[in-house]
């Protein structure tokens, strides 16, 4: 099948479809051990056209830098996880290249891998965070009631639309990279570092991203370096595209967490003390260790006001692939724990969680753990009452509680439960990419009143792209069809930073608005064509030092809640999700129908996490079986999902809300399940065997 000479000629927008004449395919030689030393790498005899690429062949540095952490391109000497890239095989047939890669002989000295992270050695600690507010020890000592639980979350596969990969080739005087990435400038800088050339000599052109769930933040840069190396050394276009199974086994997953919470309440049922001990597994290298830990620790006390708090968190490294972001950086894990604990507290006190949370939730003016005061209104009451109305929560909660308490066996009335949780999604701008943290969007208006927006951000969906166009069209007062977005290209588009944490809305969209407003202003003075730039500087990050945390982590946060109702099949104890209700305050919503759709889609994934998704507990070797077994919920397995957005004011800022379902649905689900089953759970998904045990006892011994 004939390819073309230039990728842009193929008119193909997906990396997987791009084929160039004379292209070589790159296969990865992977470490057979999780930890140890590589002594030698001996390829099989390779036919002409095929070559092996070893660490010593790298012209520049043998690493990329991700958030300040160095991650090797090709591990040399020691390896840190099973499957870590050691070398590459490049050649004209991808299947043959893969079989040669598998046939490479590797001599090694294996060491005992570090797989334990819930209890860990100090050598495994990559980051530590401690914050103390008030006097928690005293508060616990005088508290009359205290509850302690440990919640864990497992590792999750992104299952993004397209497996990871990159294509590299010489393009006149540039080195061109095509890659589906959330961060084109990071790809550029990484490739320049590895090839030992100037950043301006590398042009990165993002391909269609599809749904990424934050799985393509920094790892594509590593693969881009692999493709670039092959193209550079073979003097041919080179493409690496992981097989789905390979991607499943060896690319970053969501960091798993273990959070122990101890919470005390005063005689009025108000939170008086929270002690949180957090361990998060960031895998090998842990490039996102600092930020992940920071986000989890900040969200450890959730949405609650508490005068005495102690948070101690550790980001732990293990000999598994690097782990990190998934629909956010870590807040989801924290909310799972604190909201589940809050539900248990409320139940323990015999109170409807909706009411208990209302009494304890942060309000405008509440003091945060940073010592600052919350400037915004969380709108808890409005959100909670809308959810309660839509889902009929109060009646159902009371009814299911009654049934739960009186149940004698499984067939004694339906086994149903309903849960509610409330959380926030932080503005996502307190996360430093380890780069300049200055992001730019440019726009030009020509004489025919066509506006072109230039940004390196590759919108993850048509919806987001259209939102930018509509924002621009409103600001410049031209029809949306007259607005276009220039294909992102680091050579031509300014650096707009990593597209994560809803920055498509919070950063890029605002920049689009500002730059277009600037153009509109200029129009009154200057003739067309006009160009303008808008620059955004990330605010000061949250700082952790000496037992304090300072900053404004909740500035611009979006608040929201979820209700989840479940039913257990009395025969099989299969968990059936009956309904999910989401309500969020996203500030000014640019495109309500699309915002609702994106919340529904995120909620669908969140439900899937509750019912099915979990990678096997960290082990040295994840088998093909686990790849086959892993699956996301099918369209016919999802419950009805209802979304309501609060009406925002025109003057409000738009907020990112895409992560809210991940921050709210799991804990609401767990609470619902606990009520339905009459048992406490501490992780998701819940296995039927865990449900069956006590129920079986009840059924076996009963006399009806």
């Amino acid at each position: 099948m004939a390819g073309s000479d230039k990728p842009q000629d193929t008119a193909k927008t997906d990396l997987e479809d791009m084929e160039l004449n004379g292209m070589v395919y790159v296969a990865t030689v992977r470490s057979p051990i999780a930890r140890g030393k590589i002594l030698s790498i001996i390829p099989p005899v390779l036919p002409p056209g095929y070559r092996i690429i070893l660490p010593q062949d790298i012209p520049g540095e043998n690493h990329i830098v991700s958030f300040g952490t160095e991650v090797p391109i090709l591990a040399s000497g020691s390896v840190s996880y099973l499957g870590e890239p050691l070398a590459l095989i490049a050649g004209p047939d991808s299947v043959r290249a893969a079989s040669f890669a598998a046939a490479v002989q590797i001599d090694y000295e294996a060491e005992e891998p570090l797989l334990n992270w819930e209890s860990f050695s100090s050598g495994q600690v990559l980051a530590k965070r401690v914050a103390v507010v008030g006097d928690p020890d005293l508060a616990f000592s005088i508290a009359r009631q205290a509850l302690e639980s440990t919640f864990t979350t497992g590792s999750i596969e992104h299952y993004y639309s397209e497996p990871q990969g990159a294509l590299a080739c010489f393009d006149y005087d540039k080195f061109a990279i095509w890659c589906a990435t959330q961060w084109p400038y990071h790809v550029r800088d990484s490739v320049a570092l590895v090839l030992g050339c100037k950043a301006s000599e590398v042009a990165v052109r993002p391909t269609r991203l599809g749904v990424h769930l934050d799985g393509k933040l920094w790892y594509p840069s590593l693969l881009a370096c692999h493709a670039a190396l092959a193209a550079y050394l073979c003097r041919r276009p080179a493409k690496i595209l992981l097989q789905r199974r390979e991607d499943f086994l060896y690319t970053p997953k969501r960091a798993s967490s273990s959070i122990s919470l101890r919470a005390a309440v005063d005689p009025n049922g108000r939170l008086s003390a929270i002690d949180a001990r957090i361990a998060v597994n960031v895998g090998a290298y842990g490039p996102l260790a600092e930020e992940t830990l920071s986000q989890i620790c900040l969200a450890a006390t959730g949405v609650y006001s508490c005068p005495n708090v102690r948070i101690e968190g550790y980001a732990v490294t293990t000999n598994t692939p690097p782990m990190g972001a998934f629909g956010g950086l870590g807040a989801g894990q924290a909310f799972f724990a604190i909201e589940s604990e809050a539900a248990r507290l409320a139940q323990f006190l015999g109170e409807d969680p909706l009411d208990w949370k209302s009494r304890n939730v942060l309000k405008k003016g509440s003091r945060l753990i940073t010592g600052e005061v919350l400037k915004d209104d969380t709108k808890y009451d409005e959100i909670a009452s809308k959810l309660a109305l839509a889902s009929d929560y109060r009646r159902k909660y009371a009814c299911y509680e009654l049934v739960r308490k009186r149940r004698t066996d499984r067939y004694d009335g339906p086994m149903r439960g309903i849960g509610f949780s409330f959380a926030y999604q932080s503005a996502g701008v307190f996360f430093s990419g380890g780069d300049s943290n200055v992001y730019t969007v440019e726009a030009s208006l020509d004489k025919d009143l066509h506006l072109v927006i230039k940004t390196s951000a590759a919108a993850s969906s048509e919806s987001v792209r259209r939102i930018w166009c509509e924002t621009a069209s409103a600001a410049v007062d031209i029809p949306p069809e007259s607005v276009s977005i220039a294909p992102p290209d680091t050579d031509r588009s300014p650096n707009s930073g990593p597209l994560t944490l809803s920055r498509g809305i919070t950063v890029i969209n605002r920049l689009v608005e500002r730059v277009c407003t600037a153009i509109q202003k200029k129009r009154f003075r200057d003739p067309l064509p006009l160009t303008a730039r808008a620059v955004y500087r990330l605010p000061k990050p949250v700082r952790w030092e000496e037992g304090h945390v300072s900053g404004q982590p909740l500035e611009g946060a979006a608040w929201g809640g979820a209700v989840v109702e479940v039913e257990l099949d009395p025969w099989t104890l299969e968990i059936r999700p009956v309904g999910v209700w989401i309500c969020a305050d996203g500030g000014r919503i640019v495109a309500p129908a699309r915002a609702e759709a994106s919340l529904r889609v995120a909620a669908a994934s969140a439900v899937s996490l509750c019912l099915r998704e979990r990678l096997p507990a960290e082990s040295e070797h994840i088998s093909d079986e686990s790849f086959f077994e892993y699956g996301i919920l099918g369209a016919n397995e999802l419950p009805p999902i209802h979304v309501e957005l609060l009406q925002g004011d025109k003057r409000d800022e738009s907020k990112g809300i895409g992560e809210l379902p991940f921050n709210t649905v799991p804990a609401a689900f767990l609470a619902a399940l606990s009520q339905a089953a009459g048992m406490a759970f501490h992780t998701i998904p819940v296995q039927p065997a865990d449900l069956a045990a006590p129920a079986a006892e009840a059924a076996g011994g009963d006399a009806k």
Binding site: T572, A689, A699, G700
Partner: protein, 275 residues
């Protein structure tokens, strides 16, 4: 890639000839079971493959007053599309839960029954219904009760070097029946299993009772089933507890997790009979 010889016979006769010459040939219909454990882009086949999906004799469906006869290469989708009262609801419930419509368009009933490694969803139902399956080899054809396709250890035991050609399902109606699938729905694991039960009553007395459970191992306990015969419906507490404890007392190769679920399913069946 090992080069395999693919035989595509046009008749059952031809297929048997190939099979008798190559008894270890892989019988390939829809292939969804065989390919389930393969992850590479190139399929790994044994030296001989017998492709039977297109043999017209294996794709017939015959409905009589008492039986539904389905060719082994009829797909699960095709069975689900037969007219409603032709297929016992136990079977359609089971088949509806298999994978997705696209996979069901490929997967065949013969393949679902003949999986060598474990029992797939149809076995429990077909065993419960005392389905007969026709197996043909060079010595001729014989009908085997599906319940006998099980080794003494409870694992699948398909006759070697034979071609399953059709299944014959009795379609006399049942008064009470239920099918339940447990475990991960998207891929068969050790924790996946299917459960089917059916009961008939004549003037309030149990005249027939069947119960089958199968995952990696199959379980059908006829001695207990026969104890239910003659009991009055709705079951009394005493009768219910008696049967419950008999099932619980059996020694069988189920894992603890599956055992718990099996007990729960028995309870469910008995609960239905107690109402």
């Amino acid at each position: 890639m090992l080069v395999s010889e693919i035989y595509t016979p046009k008749t059952v006769e031809e297929a048997i000839t190939v099979l008798s010459r190559y008894p270890d040939a892989l019988i390939f219909a829809g292939g969804t079971d065989y390919l389930r454990d393969q992850a590479d882009v190139e399929i790994s086949f044994p030296r001989e493959v017998l492709s039977v999906a297109g043999i017209p004799e294996l794709r017939q469906v015959n409905l009589t007053e008492r039986f539904l006869e389905i060719g082994a290469a009829v797909t699960l989708s095709e069975i689900l599309e037969l007219k409603e009262n032709a297929v016992p609801s136990l079977l359609s419930d089971a088949l509806r839960g298999v994978a997705s419509p696209a996979i069901r368009n490929l997967a065949t009933i013969g393949g679902n029954l003949a999986s060598g490694s474990r029992f797939m969803d149809s076995w429990a139902v077909l065993a419960c219904l005392d389905t007969l399956v026709e197996a043909r080899d060079e010595l001729g054809a014989r009908w085997i009760n599906v319940n006998r396709l099980v080794s003494p250890e409870g694992k699948p035991a398909i006759p070697k070097a034979s071609l399953l050609t059709r299944i014959r399902i009795p379609i006399d109606p049942w008064d009470i029946s239920a099918f339940k699938k447990i475990g991960p729905k998207n891929y068969p694991c050790p924790e996946s299993a299917a459960f089917a039960f059916a009961a008939r009553a004549d003037k309030g007395i149990v005249s027939d009772f069947r119960l089958a459970f199968a995952g990696e191992r199959a379980l059908r306990l006829r001695e207990i089933e026969s104890r239910l015969l003659g009991m009055r419906l709705p079951l009394s507490q005493k009768d219910r507890k008696q049967i419950q404890s008999q099932y619980r007392a059996t020694e069988d190769p189920l894992s603890p997790g599956l055992r718990l679920q099996f007990n729960a399913l028995i309870d469910g069946a008995l609960d239905l009979l107690s109402r």
